[in-house]
């Protein structure tokens, strides 16, 4: 199990993170595997997850908007139904009272027994009435039927009395009054022929009203109650201020129809409020019906669903991310492995080419040494011949001449071997200041014989003003050797090779090697630096010479370019910095 998990983790981590092949670094085609891997993952993740994320977000918005609309509609429906019920309750009792006061005379109603009889009948017919009384135009109660000892009370200063006197009918707010019990006063004025009037007053039980309202209350997160037009609570509610009987909700704007709005409660929780100003057909009332629903309560099912969707989304995102990382890692690994193999081949090829150039050097040296050796051989042989064949050696001036010849040939060999040692030593030395003219001349020494033999004219033009350049002698020597070799292979006998140096700006030296050989066709020109590209016959060329030369010039922080025309010749231009930064070569 642990083994499987370790394998899984390994499949996520790309190989280039743990590479231990520093020596291959210069041969890699891509240096920024980390960026390539990261960008791949980022682009794929963004492409896959962003649409999913946006879709989910839009879906959430749509759902929330539709839930908002639905909850507003539902609240309005409840408020509307409750309004009808309350209006009907009040209207029914007002109508009964109006009927009674119109049908019965003042004399009849001011009779206590008669009034008690009327109350009994009204209770039987409609219910919800607590008592009934007759009040004269002076505000004095002349008859009373009911459970409280209120006979003879003076109501002339009561607000409902004033209102009824003025409007002929009134519905009071809920108040406690003389009896100390919450109630609503409903009063109807009756005008008498002698300019006098009396009022028939009934008090309504608030319990009936509260019970009617509570039937419209749905769920624990809903509230339904009445306030007056100043926002003072008329029936119990959760939404009241702790130190007064006012509602925490603001008094809504007047409207004849049932309205809804969204608001926040005192704790900042979002709520939906439905309200209606209660007005009967017979008389206006001071009541505003309020239906309040907590949004969180209505959203609960959706929130649960949303949590599940979020989990699903998170799990999908993790799976997508893992798959993308695995795919990206696998692709980058494949690329890296190919590049690594190529880099390894290039490194081996460069080493082989170095060995080959040393071999070529050795062959050149052998040839150079052979000629003086042959002379030594012949001269010494001749001296020996003089001893063995002619027997005339004493005080012979010719003999001295031949011995001088031998010494001269030995001296020539010494020069060649010193040059060889100088050349070989340069393979070990890293950065040093070198004279370009000397270096070119050293390299050409190895081609001198071939040039003579093939009648190739070599023209070197390296002006005095070219400064010493700081570079790796061995590498530059190999670059020039490879380019000269290349030119020698391209040209026919009797052609010429021009080597010229000039300054390319104050910091760079430009070395051009131009031949007037067969040239390179346009289609081949762009590939000449590609590894394994060759126009030679199978088995004749490796196709690595120019590729290695290119790599070496890069290592020397220079650049190399080629211009060629078929039949006219080829020019290779190497540009090198005069000075290199430390630790760069």
């Amino acid at each position: 199990m642990t083994n499987l998990f370790t394998k899984f983790l390994e499949s996520l981590a790309p190989r280039f993170l743990h590479r231990d092949d520093e020596q291959l670094n210069p041969y890699y085609s891509h240096r920024d595997y980390r960026q390539m891997w990261g960008m791949g993952i980022f682009v794929l993740l963004t492409t896959c997850l962003l649409p999913l994320f946006l879709m989910t977000l839009i879906y959430y918005q749509l759902i929330e908007r539709s839930i908002d609309t639905e909850s507003l509609l539902r609240t309005e429906r409840v408020a509307s139904n409750a309004r009808r019920a309350v209006t009907y309750l009040l209207e029914e009792r007002l109508a009964a009272l109006t009927f009674t006061v119109n049908e019965m005379s003042y004399a009849e109603l001011s009779n206590h027994e008669f009034l008690s009889e009327v109350l009994r009948n009204l209770k039987l017919g409609f219910g919800g009435l607590a008592d009934l009384s007759v009040i004269t135009d002076t505000g004095k109660q002349v008859a009373y039927a009911g459970p409280y000892p209120l006979k003879g009370k003076d109501y002339s200063s009561q607000p409902w009395f004033m209102e009824c006197k003025q409007n002929n009918i009134c519905v009071s707010e809920i108040f406690t009054g003389y009896r100390d019990v919450p109630h609503i006063v409903v009063a109807v004025k009756s005008q008498q022929p002698n300019e006098r009037f009396f009022m028939l007053r009934a008090t309504l039980d608030t319990a009936r009203l509260v019970q009617t309202l509570s039937t419209y209350k749905t769920g624990a997160h809903a509230d339904i109650f009445l306030t007056n037009r100043e926002g003072v609570l008329q029936t119990p509610s959760h939404y009241h201020l702790s130190n007064s009987d006012r509602s925490t909700l603001p008094v809504p704007q007047f409207s004849e129809r049932t309205q809804t709005m969204t608001a926040s409660d005192s704790e900042g929780q979002p709520i939906v409020v439905g309200y209606a100003y209660i007005t009967t057909n017979i008389a206006p009332t001071p009541f505003i019906l309020m239906v309040v629903k907590e949004k969180a309560g209505m959203m609960r099912i959706w929130l649960d669903l949303r949590r599940q969707i979020n989990w699903f989304f998170a799990a999908s995102a993790i799976i997508i991310a893992v798959v993308i990382i695995m795919t990206s890692t696998s692709m980058v690994n494949k690329l890296f492995r190919t590049d690594q193999e190529k880099a390894h081949t290039m490194m081996v090829a460069e080493r082989n080419a170095q060995l080959a150039s040393i071999g070529q050097l050795a062959a050149g040296v052998a040839h150079e040494v052979n000629n003086p050796l042959a002379l030594i051989n012949e001269t010494a042989g001749y001296v020996k011949d003089l001893f063995t064949i002619k027997h005339q050696y004493q005080e012979d001036p010719e003999l001295v001449e031949h011995i001088d010849s031998i010494l001269e040939a030995v001296d020539r060999c010494g020069t060649i071997t010193r040059q060889l040692l100088g050349f070989a030593r340069h393979f070990d030395v890293k950065t040093q200041r070198i004279d370009l003219g000397n270096l070119v001349s050293d390299v050409l020494n190895f081609h001198k014989k071939e040039a003579e033999y093939r009648n190739i004219g070599i023209h070197v033009d390296i002006p005095e003003n070219i400064p010493l350049i700081e570079t790796d002698r061995g590498k530059l020597q190999q670059v020039i050797l490879n380019l000269v070799n290349n030119a020698f292979q391209a040209i026919n006998n009797g052609c010429s090779l021009d080597i010229r140096a000039e300054m390319a700006g104050p910091e760079r030296v430009q070395l051009s090697i131009r031949d007037n050989g067969c040239g390179i066709s346009e289609e081949h020109l762009e590939k000449v630096f590609d590894p394994f590209f060759t126009t030679k016959k199978e088995g004749k060329g490796t196709g690595l010479g120019l590729s290695i030369t290119y790599g070496l010039v890069q290592k020397l922080h220079g650049n190399i370019s080629v211009q060629s025309k078929t039949g006219e010749g080829t020019t290779f231009v190497v540009t090198l910095p005069v000075q290199v930064e430390k630790d760069s070569v």
Binding site: A363, A366, H367, N370, N371, L373, A374, L375, I376, N377, E378, T379, G381, Y382, D385, L386, I389, K390, H402, S405, A409, K449, E450, E452, Y453, N455
Partner: protein, 120 residues
């Protein structure tokens, strides 16, 4: 007496070799280039054997051999080379009856000359 044409651009070497061959009773004509050799052939009737250096400025040994053969088809050839590589050896072996690397052993050269003389 064997009549030899000796061609090499290494003047001291070739003159020394000529003296040694002369000591051994041969008649040697020394030339330092292909052109000189061609001129010598024009002047003289016949050389038994031409000893040619493969690499020379101007006309090289192999080209010179063809030109000399055009002028005297009986002439035999020995190639000398200082390079001694496989490639040179193959060219030498193909082009000439005898092929000798420098520095050469005089006995080998005499042996080659004797062989060529015997074949005549």
């Amino acid at each position: 007496m064997m009549n030899l044409l000796l061609v090499d651009d290494e003047k001291k070497f070739v003159s020394m070799l000529a003296r040694r061959l002369e000591l051994r009773g041969m008649q040697v004509t020394v030339c330092y280039s292909g052109d000189e050799a061609l001129a010598a052939v024009e002047k003289k009737d016949h050389f038994d054997v031409a000893i040619l250096d493969v690499k020379m400025p101007g006309i090289g040994g192999i080209e010179l051999k063809r030109k000399l053969q055009e002028r005297d088809s009986r002439m035999k050839f020995i190639f000398l080379t200082g390079h001694g590589s496989d490639a040179d050896y193959q060219v030498g072996a193909k082009e000439a009856e005898e092929y000798l690397p420098k520095p050469l052993r005089i006995d080998d050269l005499i042996a080659s000359l004797t062989r060529l003389d015997g074949n005549t």
